[in-house]
């Protein structure tokens, strides 16, 4: 075809020091490349990616009138952007540059020098042949809807929402619980500074509630997401609260008068709440919700006490779920974690032995606003004489989660400190390793050592109420191999706190599917790049922050929250973003409307125009996978930058030596 016959290809072969040249005979590859069709010039150079290397390309494009460039060096995943930029600086469209990966795929993996040289030649031949059929492409920009959806109202979601809202942009914050605050709202103190969680969190919660740019929807969940970066359409299910948020003034009479109780989720079941309830006093919004499972009216059709006594007539038993549609440009997932179910780990007898607590339960137990008013007491009402804190419960354990939950060591220390502060109890920590990596964490550990908390190095084997001597009678016994002393010990205590680990949310898979992002083996969301793109995801415009990406403490979660907010704001600042240029396109002339492609597109980017009887690709939705082009039986769909011509040319290219 025309542009291929016209093509003047410049081939650049990189030595990459000795990385390539050490195994591949670069000169010989160059020699052979000179004989390839369309090749105008061939050069080899020490480091193509260096500035002089890039300039070399630039100069030749100008001087030698090159209209195609082939760079044989490392993986395109490494330097494609570099060399595209180099070409564009010289006025050659970046998509007219083709790389041949003769390092990762050749010099580094091949033993024999000659074989490596031949393989490199073949790869270059493929690249040259392909390059002659390349066509210039323009990266397109799409406008970004200034509104942002933040999913999850824990500390991460709160921080994200505030950062974005403070910049004057609209934020929709969707939380599935009746209030925002998440896990942090349930904590007592925070390590290592020991400032009280509520004191630092509630002001932020209040700001969210009052912020002019934040639309807060609690007791709500995202049901559907369609669209693409810049313009997502999101359907939110606003579950029936049976209380009208607009009219309720949060006086609380309803929950005072409600005669029925159920275990309080917020208090980890250590206390009860009413059937109509606000999870905790500082909840935002301070609008109660009725739990139909506990409400007698929903069971028997009688009572309605709350409705009768509500001064503003906000209680509405007829309320139904509502589906609300919103348009946003970006989405940030801050869906957090769920804590390990200690009952799964039989040896510690959680749920059987009354004095075995999970971390979250203990948080409430020593919280001034908790069920005991912050007094650490056994169920008997007595003060514990000794307390054992068992680390790594459900973490660093092949049977459950291999990962380290990163926060347990530190909150265990916090617990130990609080116990020392509030009781006269002897406190034992049973640990595998102490991991105090954060700022000021190691110092906090040191401080606890001085508060003579006992540290026993060894994973606790079991907790039992079986006494083997008088000293153990009526108490809990923790069996452990003390690896420092080198013997097994039985340590009698009165209370056991299980440092339960952090797990991915139970419905993480489902959520990931809904937002079209990926989930790792450990169940947490996968970031775009573990180091260089920690809050982005495989789907443009969808970001993740906080513990939904992996166990994190508050400082890290908040840092990620701001990072995600910044990412969103950069797109908003420009108002538009670049999207994939190598998309598929339907040639209406050749499309016969067989509609075979319609069901294939994973992004529903292909629609059928019944009028003209042809299918068409929505550029903005298309991610350029090319599946449709592979399937199109009439050859009417072209996968730009990977079209049939280019593919066939490359196939023949890499097999250049067949008829040689």
């Amino acid at each position: 075809m025309s542009e291929s016959s016209a093509a003047r290809v410049g081939v650049y072969i990189c030595h990459c020091g000795t990385n390539i040249a050490g195994k591949v005979d670069v000169e010989q590859v160059a020699e052979r490349a000179r004989t390839m069709e369309g090749v105008a010039l061939v050069k080899d150079y020490k480091f193509m990616c260096s500035d002089p290397g890039q300039d070399l390309i630039g100069e030749d494009i100008a001087r030698e009138k090159l209209d195609r460039v082939v760079v044989a060096s490392c993986s395109p995943l490494m330097h494609e952007p570099t060399f595209r930029a180099a070409c564009e600086r010289a006025g050659l469209n970046g998509y007219l540059m083709q790389m041949a990966n003769i390092r990762e795929h050749c010099s580094w993996v091949t033993v024999d020098k000659e074989a490596a040289t031949d393989k490199a030649t073949a790869l270059v031949a493929g690249a040259v042949a392909r390059s002659r059929h390349l066509r210039p492409l323009q990266r397109r920009r799409v406008d970004v809807n200034p509104a942002t959806l933040v999913v999850g109202g824990g500390v991460t979601g709160i921080q994200t929402a505030l950062d974005i809202a403070d910049s004057g942009r609209r934020v929709y914050l969707v939380e599935r619980d009746p209030t925002i605050g998440g896990h942090m709202a349930r904590f007592d103190k925070t390590f290592p500074t020991l400032d009280c969680a509520a004191c630092i969190l509630t002001p932020k919660m209040v700001r969210v509630g009052q912020h002019e740019n934040i639309t807060l929807w609690t007791w709500s969940e995202v049901e559907r997401v369609s669209g693409y970066v810049g313009s997502f359409r999101v359907t939110v299910r606003r579950r029936a609260r049976y209380v009208d948020e607009a009219t309720c003034n949060g006086c609380g009479v309803c929950q005072e008068k409600c005669p029925y109780k159920a275990p309080s989720e917020f208090e980890s079941g250590l206390a009860k709440r009413k059937a109509i309830y606000v999870p905790f006093p500082q909840a935002v919004p301070k609008v109660p919700v009725i739990d139909p499972a506990a409400c007698v009216y929903f069971k028997t059709g009688k009572c309605k006490a709350c409705q009768k006594l509500c001064p503003t007539g906000a209680v509405d038993f007829e309320q139904q779920d509502r589906l609300v549609e919103i348009d946003v440009g970006n989405i940030v997932l801050c869906t957090g974690f769920s804590s390990f179910d200690a009952a799964r780990l039989g040896a510690y007898r959680y749920g059987e032995l009354a004095e075995v607590y999970t971390a979250l339960e203990f948080e409430r137990l020593c919280n001034a606003s908790g069920p005991t008013g912050g007094e650490i007491r056994l169920k008997s009402g007595e003060e514990p004489r000794a307390v054992g804190i068992v680390h790594c419960v459900g973490s660093r354990d092949r049977r459950f989660n291999e990962h380290c939950s990163r926060v347990c060591c530190m909150y265990a220390l916090k617990f130990a400190h609080l116990l020392k502060e509030k009781t006269r109890a002897e406190v034992y920590n049973f640990y595998i390793d102490m991991r105090c990596f954060g700022k000021g964490y190691e110092q906090f550990y040191g401080r606890l050592l001085d508060e003579d908390v006992r540290f026993v190095r060894g994973r606790a084997a079991s907790v039992t109420d079986h006494a083997m001597n008088e000293g153990e009678r009526g108490r809990l016994v923790i069996r452990v191999e003390d690896t420092l002393v080198g013997q097994t010990r039985r340590i009698p205590v009165d209370m056991v706190i299980l440092a339960t680990g952090l797990e991915a949310q139970r419905d993480a898979d489902e959520v990931a599917r809904r937002f079209n992002i990926n989930v790792g083996k450990d169940g947490f969301f996968i970031e775009k790049h573990p180091k260089l793109a920690p809050v982005a995801t495989a789907t443009d415009g969808v970001f993740i922050a906080g513990a939904c990406q992996g166990p994190k403490d508050i400082p890290d979660s908040v840092a990620q929250a701001s990072a995600a907010a910044a990412q969103v704001l950069t797109t908003l600042a420009r108002g538009s973003i670049e999207v994939e240029a190598a998309t598929s396109v339907v040639d209406a002339e050749r499309c016969s409307g067989c509609r075979l492609c319609n069901t294939l597109c994973p992004y529903s980017a292909i629609t059928f125009d019944a009028e003209r009887g042809v299918s068409a690709v929505n550029d903005a939705l298309c991610k350029g996978c090319g599946t449709c082009a592979a399937a199109c039986p009439s050859g009417a769909i072209e996968a730009r930058h990977f079209n049939d011509e280019q593919m066939f040319a490359e196939i023949e290219g890499v097999l250049h030596d067949v008829h040689a």
Partner: protein, 293 residues
Amino acid sequence: MSPSYTYYPGCSVQATSRDYSESIRAVAGPLGLELVELDDWNCCGATAYMNVNEVLSFCLTARNLALAAKHGREVCTACSSCYQNLCKTNRYLESYPELREKVNRALAEAQLSYEGGVETKHLLEVVARDVGLARVQELVRRPLEGVRVAAYYGCQTLRPTGGEDPERPTMLEGLVGALGAEVTSFPLKTWCCGGSLMGTNEKVALRLCRNLLACAADVKAEVICVVCPLCQFNLEVYQRRVNRAYGTHFAVPVLYFTQLIGLALGLRRRELGLQRAIVPPAGPLARLVGVPA
């Protein structure tokens, strides 16, 4: 049709624990189990030999497995040591080709070879899983009502495990329950009885047995139900010595689960080798056993 297994008795069951052997034979029929004894089997070396010379010990068990392989049936044993050695040998020969090769060189001397793949089960698993608790319940003619039973697994049945949670197994409780008995909690159910330590370091072994007996007494168990000849031997035969050493007065009968099954199925005490018991049963159990007053 009755499920059929290649039955590997092991030495202890044959010798020191004839009552176990007898009760197994007695209940197999009624349970609809066909236990075909492995022809020309040899001692597995038990726990002791494994610690003296692993490779040779693997050879011993591998020989039994090689013989069993010919019959293509699952292998079933009632002795926890044997069970552990069978499982361990299978696991190791699978995981370490060089070991497999070594062992096979030895087997070749006897025109045998073993490449793995023979399923091995403890009789407890066979009864509780393959026969099934429901079926057992149907067969019960004389429920062990009112008998407080401590279900004791010992250590070797559970590691390696036949799918049971080694930290809180439930199979035996389930079975004993199905027989109509009252299952006590038994916190030490997975603790070691000392095993062959009794021969080498009696002091320690006695302490371990004391723990178990004390625990049984604590939970007011009228009988300890065991699944291993050695456990039974240590706990019952040495009970008097424990009492002497610690000034205790334990008198807990220690019966095999097969004996309890037999009782529940209505078999007579001699059929179940109960006449050999050293610590005589008392209370409701005595009535069931029908001890001559």
